[in-house]
């Protein structure tokens, strides 16, 4: 069952990558801003959760909720105090600011926590596995990560297409000037979008922090996985992003099964192949 095993593993890993990617594509979709610090923000959130569980003695669930609130506020403030000043026609300043932020976060975490590998402790729950078929069982934690990804995408989809806030998001994404004429406060919408992105990144951080070790230096790699999932899936489509994450997860686990050293590389190669044959991604949004 080796082959089927790696397929299941790849799909489950894809859930985590999709969660990485959703936060990135949220900001890009609404503000046309690529946040180069996205990966480091996920790692930062993982360290916050770790601190909340170790220093405050909170349970993992409570710590995650608390961190989500904190990250939302940080995101809101980040947009209002920093990013807002550099957004404009020239895409260079916002890219450079987020790149600088990435370096600052990485080295700040290194100073604060050291270079050791950490992991979030989910208790007994980590060891539980669920039988899917005779001879094939999966860990409960990775399964829940995938389910979480599906739920998050579904909730965001609802938010975007069924609520007034979602309509404001879409209107601002389409045309900020006209949206503002219609009484939408663009500054608030942007700040909410960044806050939401960071809150979603916290969910990504917890699913990822239970699954594997993390240290301050791994942020950029998370950014690249998130980006690859977005491009593979196709711009402007949340379900596409989920599919993109799964394709990336599959490419990595299958590549890793052939030769462990090729795991990450095969993910990158899959991305380049998709870019070559379907530059708009596998499931691009029809509009835009």
């Amino acid at each position: 069952m080796g082959g089927l095993d790696s397929i299941v593993e790849g799909v489950l890993l894809g859930g985590v990558y999709a969660l990485f990617a959703v936060g990135l594509s949220l900001i890009f979709g609404i503000m046309r801003l690529v946040n180069l610090a996205h990966g480091d923000i996920i790692v930062f959130a993982a360290f916050l959760i770790l601190t909340a569980t170790l220093a405050l003695g909170l349970s993992l669930g409570v710590a995650t909720l608390l961190t989500m609130v904190i990250m939302f506020v940080i995101g809101f403030a980040l947009q209002r105090l920093v990013l807002e000043r550099v957004l404009g026609d020239d895409i260079l300043p916002p890219l450079l600011v987020t790149f600088g932020l990435s370096i600052v976060l990485q080295n700040g975490l290194l100073l604060g926590y050291g270079a050791d590998s950490r992991r979030l402790q989910a208790g007994a729950f980590e060891q539980v596995s669920v039988p899917l078929a005779p001879g094939l069982s999966v860990g409960l934690a990775p399964l829940i990560a995938l389910i979480t990804a599906v739920v998050v995408v579904a909730l965001l989809q609802l938010l975007f297409y069924r609520t007034a806030l979602g309509r404001a998001f879409r209107a601002t994404a389409d045309n900020p000037e006209i949206a503002q004429l219609m009484g939408i406060d663009q500054r608030n919408i942007y700040a909410l979008a960044v806050g939401l992105s960071l809150a979603v990144s916290t969910i990504a951080a917890v699913t990822f922090g239970i699954r594997s070790n993390f240290d301050p230096s791994i942020g950029p790699a998370r950014l690249l996985y998130a980006f690859e999932a977005v491009i593979i899936g196709g711009l402007g489509s949340l379900w596409g992003t989920l599919a993109g994450g799964i394709v990336l997860g599959l490419a990595q686990t299958i590549g890793g099964r052939i030769d462990p050293e090729w795991q990450i590389l095969s993910g990158h190669l899959a991305f380049l192949v998709v870019l070559m044959v379907r530059p708009r991604g596998l499931f691009p949004a029809r509009r835009r």
Binding site: V34, L95, V97, I103, Q106
Partner: protein
């Protein structure tokens, strides 16, 4: 920056117009003085190994190579709008090409530096069409992905040490062209003489790259590039071949970046995939140099690299604190001094040592 391409006065004269009242001009009095000062400084820089210590010489090699990388990124991202955060790909490729040529086929290290540039340009030429499918900010991360993929590929190359890397043997470096000559000239040991040769090459590279960029951005081609960055559709509609200019720029910048990468690792004489393809060493520092000094100016990166050198001199012992401060400084500059230290000063006091703007100037003789 103006992106209009006014007709040249001689063209208009040929078409039978009267001598026009306006002409396009870049030079200023200050820029002529700066040109003379540079002409005096260059021979001095070449003679420098005669009296400075080996430590300072190595520092200057760092300053020159960093400045060369900064100028290259400045023209690619600043003027061209091709914002790459994956230039470490071409530093690493250059470095690996040099090591492959020297250790596997015993090529003269000086020639191998040239080969390093060719290798980087060849890969850039192949990747270009793929990368240009990604627009604007996505191009940035896409270039980073490519650099990571190349790092992992080089780590698979066992003859060059795989993931752990390797060192250049003294024997391979001993017969490098120019070393014996420099050793005899200054009475140095071979290792120190090699630094002198590398220093000269770094100086030649940084001068050549800076001059080429300066001439390019002042040319009509450079204006076309700026136009394609500011408004691609409009630039195409007036006949600027934007795709061709951008592709050419991408490949030539990769070539020069590969040269610098080869030279840097010739001096280090030790390579590993993580170091040669380091995003911090070959992109973060470079970006900070350009941002702090001033994007889209020739002088900005020169000032920026001096700031970096001073910071490194004082803070390098602190490791991550040093990078933290550098990152914060770059963010602060972007927020409060968008044009960088030099760019802001230049705008305020109207000073340009190496002017890159084209201005319309009224002819004196025509004034009433």
């Amino acid at each position: 920056m103006t992106t209009i391409l006014p007709e040249r006065s001689d063209q208009r004269a040929a078409m039978g117009h009267k001598q026009p009242r306006w002409r396009v001009q870049s030079a200023t009095r200050l820029s002529r003085i700066a040109g003379i000062a540079a002409a005096v400084a260059v021979p001095l820089l070449f003679a420098m190994p005669a009296w400075v210590s080996r430590n300072l010489l190595q520092d200057l090699i760092f300053v020159f190579t960093m400045l060369a990388l900064a100028q290259l990124w400045n023209v690619l991202a600043g003027w061209g709008g091709l914002i790459s955060v994956g230039q470490q790909a071409f530093v690493g490729l250059g470095a690996y090409a040099l090591f492959a040529a020297v250790t596997l086929s015993g090529l003269d290290p000086l020639l191998a530096v040239l080969l390093a540039g060719v290798a980087a340009a060849a890969v850039a030429a192949l990747l270009g069409p793929l990368m240009f499918r990604l627009e604007g900010p996505y191009f940035a991360i896409g270039s980073w992905v490519v650099a990571e993929a190349l790092r992992l590929l080089c780590a698979q190359f066992k003859p060059l040490g795989g993931g752990t890397g390797m060192s250049l043997s003294g024997a391979a470096l001993a017969n490098m062209t120019g070393t014996k000559w420099a050793a005899a000239l200054f009475g140095l040991r071979p290792a120190a003489a090699r630094d002198v040769v590398v220093y000269w090459m770094a100086l030649v590279l940084v001068l050549g790259i800076t001059t080429a960029i300066y001439v390019f951005v002042r040319s009509r081609l450079g204006l076309g590039l700026a136009a394609s960055r500011d408004n691609n559709a409009a630039a195409r509609s007036v006949g600027v071949r934007t795709d061709r200019i951008r592709y050419g720029l991408w490949v030539i910048v990769a070539f020069a970046t590969g040269l610098v990468g080869g030279l840097v690792y010739l001096q280090k004489a030790r390579i590993s995939p993580d170091a040669a393809f380091s995003v911090v060493d070959w992109t973060a520092y470079v970006l900070f140099v350009v941002v702090i000094g001033g994007v889209r100016t020739i002088e900005g990166p020169i000032l920026g690299v001096l700031v970096l050198w001073a910071l490194q001199f004082n803070l390098a012992g602190y490791g991550s604190l040093y990078l933290l401060i550098l990152g914060l400084l770059a963010i602060a500059v972007m927020l409060f001094l968008r044009r960088g230290l030099w760019g802001s000063a230049a705008a305020r006091w109207e000073i340009q040592l190496f002017p890159v703007r084209q201005r319309l100037v009224r002819r004196k003789s025509e004034e009433p």
